[in-house]
């Protein structure tokens, strides 16, 4: 019997067998949630949702268990699912959701909302037949001043996790899924929520914030896998101290390529090379690789069913066509690639202006617009600062009102206020950490802002 037959809450299988009702869907901080309870909650909420007139629902849950319940309930109720760029009310409003399904009802008190945790489970599960044509909207940073909407069909998400299971299901067996990445971006949605639900693996609901939490989880579960990213993995100092060592069946990393030194360290200290996954919100998973010693840059292997187009002799635009891109059209990745035999390729850097801060996409143009919209700011220019960590730096010209405020309360308070304003829109990692208030933006005679002089504003002070 395959894992999918055992539970398959997202596979469309009917799982009414009594043994499956006692299977653990999710582990919480100190407890576990069984399939029977999970199904009943999904069914109760789906029934509730069917009676609601709103079609477009944003799903915003802090807890991964409620997120999973909410996802399946919305799917069963055939609602359009919306994943805003981040988890704030401003993001939900911007995505034009008609209503919010959430485990944080007070945060969304000004919206039409439904508290996912407050609905009492009722009756037996309704049919688990899922509508593969159901629309899912994800919002991500584009290269313009507006968040970019990416559409998917439910069937595409299901096809993608099915492909992941074909690729790695046997290796992973019944490992419990631990994660350091959020569930509301595509990588987390697929790897930490939908794939385990599809395959009948249990997931650990808390997000691991520190490497040492893995030890407590590994002792508790005996076997596990990690869904992580370079931002996290590059900061783990000692993979050899993860105990028990044989508990870790796989480490997945996505968001950016792992630095060679980190990839080598993981392989040497833990005994397993991390499985790196290359993809994006627009394309879904494209390819994977495992670090190999003495290869130089390890090539990427495209997933079965994914077509790659890139020049063979020199780096050029990398395009992708796969069953899980919208209408299965060719998509520009925005990356440069070089094709190799056997559906392998090299990644050779970025071709467009989409930037990342610690693996998270950010549009500086969009953030600049939000800053300038504030009454205290008349001009703003943002840049990426490199160092021990990457972060956003802000150079701003204050408006007359902003200058008055600065004189009254000081630069620290003005900076804090602007940071709080941006925190309503962005994940904390993307909010500018360093600020420079200037009389005018450093420009040349042509009126073009000089990036080197902007950078210098941050290096001069050390």
């Amino acid at each position: 019997m395959s894992a999918a037959d055992q539970i398959g809450v997202f596979s469309g299988h009917r799982s009414q067998h009594s043994a499956t009702q006692h299977k653990v869907v999710a582990y919480t901080g100190d407890g576990e949630l069984l399939a029977g309870d999970f199904y009943a909650r999904v069914a109760g909420i789906a029934r509730h949702l069917r009676q609601r007139p709103e079609q477009r629902w944003a799903l915003v849950c802090d807890d991964t268990f409620w997120f999973a319940v909410g996802f399946l309930a919305l799917v069963q109720a055939r609602k359009t699912l919306i994943f805003p760029q981040a988890s704030g009310p401003a993001n939900v409003a911007e995505a034009q959701a008609a209503a919010v399904l959430t485990d944080q009802p007070t945060r969304f008190s000004s919206f039409v909302s439904l508290d996912v945790a407050a609905i009492t489970a009722s009756g037996t599960p309704v049919g688990t037949d899922l509508d593969d044509e159901l629309l899912i909207e994800l919002y991500t940073s584009g290269s313009t001043g507006r968040p970019k909407r990416v559409d998917k069909l439910l069937g595409q998400l299901r096809a993608e996790v099915a492909a992941l299971e074909v690729q790695w299901g046997q290796t992973l067996g019944d490992a419990v899924v631990l994660a350091t990445v959020p569930h509301h971006h595509l990588y987390g949605l697929l790897f930490r929520v939908l794939w385990p639900l599809w395959a009948g693996r249990s997931f650990y609901a808390p997000t691991c914030a520190q490497a040492f939490e893995f030890n407590a989880a590994a002792r508790r579960f005996g076997r596990c896998l990690m869904v992580s990213s370079p931002a996290f993995l590059t900061r783990v100092t000692d993979f050899g101290s993860l105990q028990p060592q044989d508990a870790f069946r796989a480490v997945f990393s996505s968001g950016a390529p792992l630095p060679e030194t980190t990839a080598a360290k993981i392989a040497n200290e833990s005994g397993h090379a991390a499985i790196e996954v290359y993809g994006s919100t627009e394309t879904g998973g494209i390819a994977w690789r495992k670090w190999e010693p003495e290869v130089g840059q390890t090539p990427w292997q495209s997933f079965a069913g994914v077509e790659i187009a890139a020049p063979e002799n020199t780096p050029g635009f990398l395009r992708v066509r796969s069953p899980w891109t919208w209408r299965a059209d060719w998509v520009e990745t925005g990356d440069l690639g070089q094709a190799l035999p056997q559906r392998r390729f090299l990644l050779c850097g970025r071709a467009d202006s989409v930037l990342k801060v610690e693996d998270k996409r950010v549009s500086l143009a969009e953030m600049e617009q939000r800053l300038v919209a504030h009454e205290f700011v008349s001009e703003a220019c943002l840049l990426i600062l490199k160092g021990k960590r990457s972060s956003v730096g802000a150079v701003a010209v204050l408006s007359p009102a902003g200058r008055r405020q600065l004189q009254q309360v000081g630069a620290q308070k003005v900076r804090k206020l602007l940071m709080e304003m941006l925190r309503a829109w962005y994940e904390p990692v993307l909010v500018p950490r360093k600020w420079r208030f200037v009389e005018e933006l450093p420009g040349n005679a042509m009126g073009k802002i000089e990036m080197a002089r902007l950078q210098a504003l941050f290096t001069e002070r050390g």
Partner: protein, 86 residues
């Protein structure tokens, strides 16, 4: 304990490269993340690593415990003291 809290304030400012923040600005009882000092997930990781190195201790906790220990500076100081004693 007060010495430890003062040390941790210095450590946070230095390791996390916080500009325009003085030790006096950090309230030991206030949340380190979100509305308080405004640290993020990368800061949390850097801080966890720095503490283990600075105090020669190995931290070990469940996710729920970690959230509590890293909630504020005061909690963090208690956590470190307990690890040093054991």
């Amino acid at each position: 304990m007060n010495t430890l809290i003062d040390e941790l304030k210095q450590l946070i400012i230095k390791v996390l490269d916080l500009e325009d923040v003085t030790p006096a600005d950090i309230d030991p009882q206030a949340p380190l993340f979100g509305d308080g000092l405004g640290l993020d997930s990368i800061d949390a990781l850097e801080l966890g690593v720095a503490i283990q190195k600075r105090y020669h201790i190995t931290l070990d906790a469940t996710s729920v415990e970690t959230r509590r220990h890293f909630y504020s500076l005061a909690n963090l100081a208690k956590f470190i003291t307990a690890r040093q004693a054991s």
